[in-house]
Symmetry: C2
DNA sequence: AAGCGGACTTCTGTATACAAAGCAGCCTGA
DNA sequence: TCAGGCTGCTTTGTATACAGAAGTCCGCTT
């Protein structure tokens, strides 16, 4: 594996998990030393982060980790809604029913686990990622996948703005189950409706649980 | 201006205008010599092209210019439709009426110019780009703008698959006028409908006028 | 004659050295 | 005392040299 790929993955994970919080200056020599590589591959990693919107280049001062604001989250969902709906519609038309039936059952089990108090938030988000991946695969559209990937990257950071409580997680599991079921049944409009409901609730929860906006 | 930026812009324009046709191998040393720069900034330019989807990295063999296929165009429009509709809806809700009234009039004038036989295809596409930019600005959503930019890049190349005739250009001008009018009136659903009609016709024209698919 | 193996060639990936540009801090002059 | 400019220092941007890997071509073997 290339050093620039490792650097990119490492920095990306650090930013997504807030180990490198917004506003952090990513100086080339400093980060290169930290990751044990030279400046050349590090620069490539940084340019990828900038292209992705996770960092911004300040002329003459290096790149800084970009911020996540509440207004930005609203913008994010304005684009997510039509895109996720389109993905769900396509997936419903082209899906393998068995795969989405299985996912629906797993979301039902996850709901039971959450309500019994034994939930693992990390595992739950991994399951959500599985559903997203299954929809992407069923939609079979590289342009859609790429656009979704960009948005989901920013979504991961936005999640940290809200503190998920068990109630919301339980509701979310139910909404995801509905999405999986609709796709499994091959009903595009039902799938789009389920996605609309989920994203609407998700955004509302985010906006309601954030104390104050964080700067950029 | 940085050398890597110039190289990126130059290569991007060369690919979009088919001076570097699909399948062309972009060897680092060769391109660096051609552009009069060293390999380091050239590599950065190439990585940006790869991230954008205009080139693909073949391990051990450099990067090659990606192809445009008819199937790819269908995928492209599957994503364009929901995204452009969303942009039109947002623009209709947030627009400055005067700007879009002016654009509508210019499309009407362009239609008259086309039907009189004095059309300039390049100038017409520039006008279309102006409408796109106005919608982006009115929508005021950076995530949307970025996603659109990616798709439109590929669209520019796809246009070369079809040979535009004056009839299609005339119809296109009318459709764009309808979009501009709908946005000017502040009617989101009307704007989305106008966009749907335009994209549907546009894709149909593309698919009907292409003799055979080009490989990747 | 055809398939396989090895060495050569050429390419990318990485490191480092150099140059240029921006910023900060300080000094000087009014 | 404040404004302006200058110096030096840090930082990025670029070039080049080196190493590793992959592909290719030729020759050998079967």
């Amino acid at each position: 594996m290339r050093a620039s790929d490792r650097a990119y993955g490492s920095l990306r994970a650090d930013i997504l998990e807030w180990r490198l919080p917004p506003g952090t200056l990513l100086a080339e020599v400093e980060q290169a030393r930290r990751l044990g590589i030279s400046r050349t591959p590090l620069r490539e990693a940084l340019s990828r982060l900038v292209a992705e919107g996770l960092a911004a280049a300040h002329t003459g001062r290096g790149v800084v980790v970009t911020g996540v604001s509440l207004a930005g989250v609203a913008d994010l969902f304005e684009v997510r809604l039509p895109l996720e709906c389109a993905a769900a519609r396509l997936a419903a038309a082209r899906r393998d029913p068995a795969a989405f039936d299985a996912l629906a059952e797993r979301f039902e089990a996850a709901g039971a686990l959450i309500s019994s108090g034994g939930s693992d938030q990390h595992a739950y988000y991994a399951l959500v990622a599985e559903l997203d991946a299954a929809i992407d695969e069923a939609a079979a559209n590289p342009y859609l996948v790429q656009a979704q990937r960009q948005l989901r990257t920013h979504l991961v950071r936005a999640r940290r703005l809200a503190r998920d409580n068990p109630d919301r997680l339980l509701a979310s599991a139910g909404e995801h189950r509905q999405i999986a079921q609709a796709v499994a049944r091959g009903n595009p409009e039902l799938a789009a409706a389920a996605v609309t409901i989920h994203l609407s609730n998700s955004l509302h929860h985010l906006q309601a649980s954030v104390p104050g906006p964080l700067d950029a």
